[in-house]
């Protein structure tokens, strides 16, 4: 589903990604963990080209990310959820959800709204369809953001530390929605600090540090018997 070949990314002299190779299968849930500054968010943002690649190649669902048209085509198939929600503040929850289907997919308004309401129901926010984002809690905003991404009927979902900006009591409601998605067979790449989630839902865990993949494998294997000393040091600090 996603092929990443020798991906490098630099900001000026600072090299953030130093050659990433990775292959993500259909319906696979890949959890990316690692210390801050390890490049895991940058890696995720390269997958839908929110970051320009310095070198390397990325192929998503058979489309090479090398032209403006291809990038837009890939973005239609890849949903993304951000740490800071990034809901559109001038639109209601429902308007946030239906905007992209209407103008990008040219879905009829009535049909888009039906899909939108279904998705808001799915994330448990049927009663908030008419609310503006600033009237919603962080957890509710993030669930709207997930519904918004799902409205494009993506084949892949990217989650960029989606619970890191939330108050602790709201983390659970967002993780629950993500778990449901994983169970339904969505292909997911999840950057997170929630090790419980990684263990429970992940098919594979990738440990990144200093811009490279240090270790990857089945969650239980990586968490119980980390081979790389870096992984051991990281896990001993957080578990």
């Amino acid at each position: 589903m996603i092929y990443v070949k020798n991906l490098h990314k630099s900001y000026g002299k600072l090299e953030v990604l130093k050659g990433i190779d990775c292959h993500i299968l259909e319906k696979e849930v890949v959890v990316v963990i690692g210390p801050s500054g390890s490049g895991k968010s940058t890696f995720l943002r390269c997958l839908n080209k929110l970051e320009e690649l310095t070198s390397g190649e990325i192929i998503v669902d058979g489309i090479v990310l090398n032209s403006e048209a291809n990038v837009n085509a890939v973005r239609r198939e890849v949903g993304m959820v951000f740490q800071r929600f990034n809901l559109f503040p001038h639109m209601t929850a429902l308007q946030n959800v239906v905007l992209a289907p209407e103008i990008v997919r040219k879905t009829k308004k009535a049909e888009a709204e039906k899909i939108g309401l279904d998705l808001l129901a799915k994330v448990g926010l049927s009663d908030k369809a008419g609310e503006y984002p600033d009237r919603l809690s962080g957890g509710q905003q993030q669930r709207v953001a997930i519904a918004r991404a799902l409205a494009m009927k993506p084949k892949i979902m990217l989650f960029d530390e989606t619970t890191s900006a939330l108050d602790p009591e709201m983390v659970g409601e967002v993780l629950a929605v993500m778990k449901d998605l994983a169970r339904e067979g969505m292909t997911m790449v999840v950057v997170t600090h929630e090790m419980g989630f990684a263990r429970e839902v992940g098919d594979r865990v990738i440990f990144m540090d200093e811009g490279v993949i240090m270790e990857e494998g089945e969650p239980n294997e990586v968490f119980e018997h980390p081979k790389n000393p870096r992984t051991q040091a990281f896990l001993s600090k957080i578990l």
Binding site: F82, F88, P89, L99, D134, A145
Partner: protein
Amino acid sequence: MEMNWKAAVDSIPILNRAALLTLELTAGAIAIGVVIALFMALARLSKKRILRAVAIIYIDFFRGTPLLVQIFLVYFLVPRVLHWDTLPENYQYIAGVLAMGLNSGAYIAEIFRAGIQSIDRGQSEAARSLGMNHSQSMRYVILPQAFKRVIPPLGNEFIALLKDSSLLSIIAIEELFYSGKIIAGRTFQPIPMYITVALYYLVMTQLIAQWVAYMERRLGKNDLR
């Protein structure tokens, strides 16, 4: 010589008409200015160097030279460029509105640019990640939010423009200041006339300020940030 307010009071019908013309000239200039400004602001933020260069030159020129000079320049240049042998009737209005519109376009472009740049990058990232292209993301996500934020500085610009329209008296447009000056000269009552003219401007700028405050309240309703 004694100060006499009769002349000023008698001239109210003329001044009303002149004030209306001032408002019309200003509205015309705003309409032209806003359209130019939108294109210039987007060009200024474009990835294409040539577009950025055009915008920068335009903005620098119209901000960096006096409006008075621009009014004369437009007045004499347009017939020359279009090869007009005789000037159309009421040509001075066209030249006047055009000059003011071109000038305000530069200032409003900078206001729009600041507004667009003030919107969090996450907004365009979210829009782009949903598959919207650059112009869709601008139109549906960035500009509506930016527009809300630029209303106060836009109000300032409209007020400045209304006052600057008095410069159009130089090409014999009978707007408010021009009419006041003529009547002051004819009646030998400059002080009452200019006080009256000043009050007319004050009322009009207050109206704009009120309208801006109203727009700000109305559009700000759903945006607590």
